[in-house]
Symmetry: C2
Subunit: 265 residues, 2 copies
């Protein structure tokens, strides 16, 4: 059975993969983390597009049934619905759609890397859906290294979250988009900093809903079901780091002997 | 007059360039920051060596009189004294030499990125010089993003420094090697965390001393003096980020209209 290809600049997209595996336990997945070239967040859009194309073309060798670009920085450069004739999903559109549905007050916050926030991609798409939305954006460059350091629900992380999210808190949003796939790891610190009444909206569940709708329709047409697959998992990285490999296995609950493959694009 | 080529994975090496320019104000410099592929710190040694070679070969087009690898992660992969027939300096050897001279108690600390610390390059070289040295190493992965965020002499940075440096403080070192070129930016927080009696040893002054000895000898032999040059400066980056460009200009005290050039290797 053809796998679902999940791409990220590094290991943050594993939070999306984790949700997808738990929602679709029998699906096959191939994950590519471009760890040799992370972070994409600080890079120029043209560079990001170039790297994205290289990675999608590499993943295409696994003959996936769909591509999921589980990286917000890379998602800003996904301009098509199909890649090599297969559906491609970015993580921005489904998150924007859910944020728009979830918000009662139309006051929505967005946090992400510097590149994602400066691109204003979330606010532009939110305003396309709802011109009356009041959007507050904040870049949080230290969140990715904090998540990768494993300082989760830590007093220092809480302090940094409190500082970064002051503007969001003051804007009295009722929904906050976690515009970076690393951020669900810090969800508890973020939630404390903005208040427990604020709804956090993350990519994993949003993209899982979209895949379930889209791929079930496709598989029904092909007399095939999504759930017949054997649940194989491949994790590929463009550079191998002992720390990030262990971090990845821990996040996904995989055994230490699971082999993360080092590939060259 | 031939420039001195300074290479770093990103913008941290600018702390070295800053010291070199202030020590040799009339020298020409060409700086290459491989910002498209930073950070090197988390990458595999083989990948770092490949990138280093590409960058040195690119810098060689400027016909430099010497190469300075102002990046500790890349310096771990410099195994030769000459590159393309020109002297090449890494930032590790001169720092190790000064630490060994400066320490009275032979208790020396080393801080750096995860890759630099895990390579144990500083402790191996220190022990080669002085088998009786007692070395304590600590990786500090958040220091680079904190420096790039501009959170200098900040309560949060002080807290993080205090946490990272607890082991160093307890080891009662009298000298501490700042084994990453970003770290001088956070020197005040680091100094507070380890105590003001500890001598911080950084790459810039160490490499400046070595260049002065070596290049003055060379230039005397060639009837040329180091100080006749016109003090031109070129800064090249493999990816252009508005935030890091402004940060670089600010660090070096350059005017906003100074052009940082975007190059493709």
């Amino acid at each position: 059975v053809k796998p679902i290809a999940v791409f990220d600049s590094g290991v943050g997209g594993l939070t999306v993969l984790k949700v997808l595996r738990s929602r679709f336990p029998d699906e096959n997945f191939v994950y590519l983390g471009d760890t040799a070239r992370l972070p994409y967040g600080s890079k120029n859009p043209k560079t990001i597009r170039l790297y994205l194309e290289q990675c999608l073309n590499f993943l295409n060798h696994y003959d996936p049934k769909a591509f999921v670009v589980a990286c917000n920085s890379a998602s800003t450069q996904v301009t098509e619905d199909q890649w090599m004739g297969k559906p491609i999903f970015n993580v921005i559109d489904p998150v924007v759609s859910i944020a728009n549905q979830s918000s009662q007050t139309q006051r929505i916050g967005v946090i992400g890397t510097r590149a994602t926030v400066q691109s204003q991609v979330f606010s532009k798409k939110l305003l396309d859906l709802n011109g009356a939305a009041h959007i507050t954006e904040q870049e949080c460059p230290l969140f990715v290294p904090l998540a990768e350091e494993g300082w989760v629900d830590d007093p220092i992380t809480n302090l940094i979250a409190f500082r970064y999210l002051e503007k969001i808190r003051k804007a009295q949003v009722d929904s906050l988009i976690l515009g970076c796939t690393h951020y669900p790891i810090l969800a508890h610190s973020i939630q404390k900093a903005v208040g427990f009444e604020v709804q956090l909206i993350e990519a994993g569940p949003a993209i899982a809903n979209l895949l379930q709708e889209t791929l079930l329709i496709r598989t029904n047409e092909n007399s095939d079901t999504v759930f017949e697959s054997t649940g194989e998992l491949k994790i590929l990285v463009t550079d191998s780091s002992k720390h990030l490999n262990l971090w990845a296995l821990n996040l996904l609950g995989l055994p230490d002997q699971f082999q993360i493959e080092w590939v060259h694009l």
